[in-house]
Structures are given as C-alpha cells and as structure tokens.
Symmetry: C2
Subunit: 193 residues, 2 copies
C-alpha cells in the first residue's frame, strides 16, 4: 500500500514537469520586430515553412519615417542557403549566401520551462490567452525566450539574443495555419539574373 501511494505521488510529481508542445510547421503571421541591428520597430508579413526551411518576410513601408524596408526571402533548403533581399525603396535586389542555419520557431527539446502565464487577464472571457514560456541556449551560442499559446502551441513571441548587443525581438499576430499562396517562396523577379 505504501509503495502504491509512493508510486502515485511520484507519477503526480512527474506529471507536473511540462512537456514542450509542438508548434505548427507551416504558417503565416503578421509580425512586429525590434531589430537591434537597425534600431527600430518593423511590422511585416511572415510566411514560415519548416519542412522546406523557407521564410519570406515582407516589411510594411512606413512613409512617415526615413528608413529602409525590405522584402526578404530566406531559402535554407539549398547548399549553401540563399537570401534574396529586395530593397523596397531603391527597388534593388541583393542576393547573399546564408552562413547561418535555419532557426526554427519552436521549442527545442532541451529548453527550460519558465512557466505558464496569461496574456491579459484571467476570468473575463476574451480578455486573455494562456501561454507557456520556454528559454535556453541556441546552437550558435545565443540565448532565446519563446512564448506559445497553451492551446494550439501557436508562436506568440520570440526573443533571440545573438550576444549582448545584438538581438531580435519578434511578436506574432494573426497567425494562420498553412501558406495562402505557394509562390511566396519564389524569389522576386528583380532578384533573378
């Protein structure tokens, strides 16, 4: 009987260790990015395809600011990876080799659970959403903190620190599953030789 109680208690304790949830693999989202390299807040449309390691990010041009905005396609499914960076102001395209690996917007298996929280308030329906927060180290020596909805494991925010002075903060809004138009992963024609 004592052994049974112990077993039940141990199981209960194990049950409290949260398991990383599985984020959707293919989705589109509006994003807000605080890019430390450029030093301002950018809003963009993001298309994410984990299977083929492709990301397209089309930034919204804010005419009230004297800044440069880009439409960028990252293809990590070639060797080496390729980046097509189309300047929406100058209408020039720059093609680069990618020397970074594809960063997945998901919870790595070795991530530490930081707990469950509510964005907004609990209680009133429609005034909050429950989320789970995870943090850890990235393979390139950086650090990250990721937040995902508890139901559905939809990305909410991603804090990624390459080092103390270089980091990206991304907030995700209006996530929709799947890709609405597959041609989003074809490079802009201005980028083709």
């Amino acid at each position: 009987m004592k052994a049974l109680i112990l077993l039940v208690l141990v199981s209960a304790a194990y049950g409290q260790v949260p398991e990383p949830c599985r984020t959707p693999s293919v989705w589109e989202s509006r994003v807000g990015i605080q890019d430390s390299m450029r030093g301002f807040y950018v809003r963009a449309k993001l298309s994410y395809d984990r299977y083929n390691m492709r990301i397209r990010r089309i930034e919204e041009v804010d005419e009230t600011r004297e800044k440069e905005y880009f439409d960028v396609l990252y293809l990590h499914n070639t060797m080496p990876g390729k980046e097509y960076r189309y300047n929406l102001k100058t209408k020039q395209c720059e093609t680069r080799m990618l020397n970074t690996s594809f960063r997945r917007f998901e919870i790595p298996e070795d991530a530490r659970p930081f707990g469950e929280f509510t964005i907004g308030t609990k209680g009133q329906p429609g005034e909050g959403v429950d989320v789970t927060m995870w943090g850890g180290r990235t393979p390139d020596g950086g650090e990250f903190v990721g937040v995902f909805t508890l139901a559905g494991c939809v990305p909410v925010s991603d804090r990624y620190f390459r080092n103390e002075s270089s980091f990206d903060n991304t907030d995700f809004y209006d996530v929709t599953l799947g890709i609405s138009n597959a041609s989003v992963f074809i490079p802009p024609h201005e980028c083709m030789p």
Copy 2:
C-alpha cells in the same frame, strides 16, 4: 436624400477611427523585460500605481546566470522623484534622484492606431486574444509601440526606444487589477538611512 446618405457614410467612416482605450490605473503583473542597457532578459513582478505615480519592480534571481538582479522602487510623487535600487546579490541599496518623468503604461491621446490583431489564432476558443496596437513619440523624444487587449484594455507589451541603441521591451503577463499589498510602495528597510 443624397445628403442623408452622405451623412451616414461620413459617420460610418468616422466610426472606423479607433479611439484609444483607457487602461486600468492600478494593477500588478509579471513582466519579461529585454533591457538593452543590461543586455539580457529579466523576469520580474511589477506593481503599478498611476494615481500616485509609483512603480515597484522586483526581479526574479536566476541562479544559473552570473548576473545582477534588483528590487527597484520608483517614486514620482516626490519632488524630485526618488529611486530605491536594492541589489539582490550584494544586499546593498542605492538611492537616486529621478530626473525622468513618470511613464504611464497607457495610450497617449496623440498616439497613432496601428490596427487590431489577434495574439494566437482566431476561431478556436482559448487559442487567442484580440489586441489593439498603438505607436507614437514620447515627450522625451523617444518612440513607443504599445499593445493592449481589446476587451479590458489590459497592457500586453510595451516597446520603448529612448534612442536607436537604448530601449526597453516589456511583456506583461498575469495582470491583476489593484494592489494586493499596499506596503509594496514602502522602500526596503535596507534603503533607509
């Protein structure tokens, strides 16, 4: 009749200009802060009292990192304002004069509406919360982007850029209205002369 239709159309168009919502004035929250000065992500408990212009921020010590953590009380209801900064590692307190004004976590009247979004996904109940985003300039020449729940106008995130290299990103979780213990605005006894 034509005038009436025009009037209805104009009213409808005006009706679409969103009004800034009124955030609660006194609340507590868990926060995640990306502090560009210190270069890492801090989790803390925040107590906010707009009426008396007081903020207390007690940081969570992460024993796995060699960083300094603080318990800070900002009192803007004195002239000049005062900051009590208690170092949770060294157990030393530093008292400073505040030369900045009290920054309200709310939507200024001259803010620009950036639209309404869903954090998470629409459709499934519990998988998302509707939010409203606003941006603009702060009186000290900085820029901000603030996100609030559509229902209840609860703070969700605050991006505040003093300048291109100095900014705070704050995310709010588990917001509860009111202050659970009023003594939170009394300076720690280590800070008293």
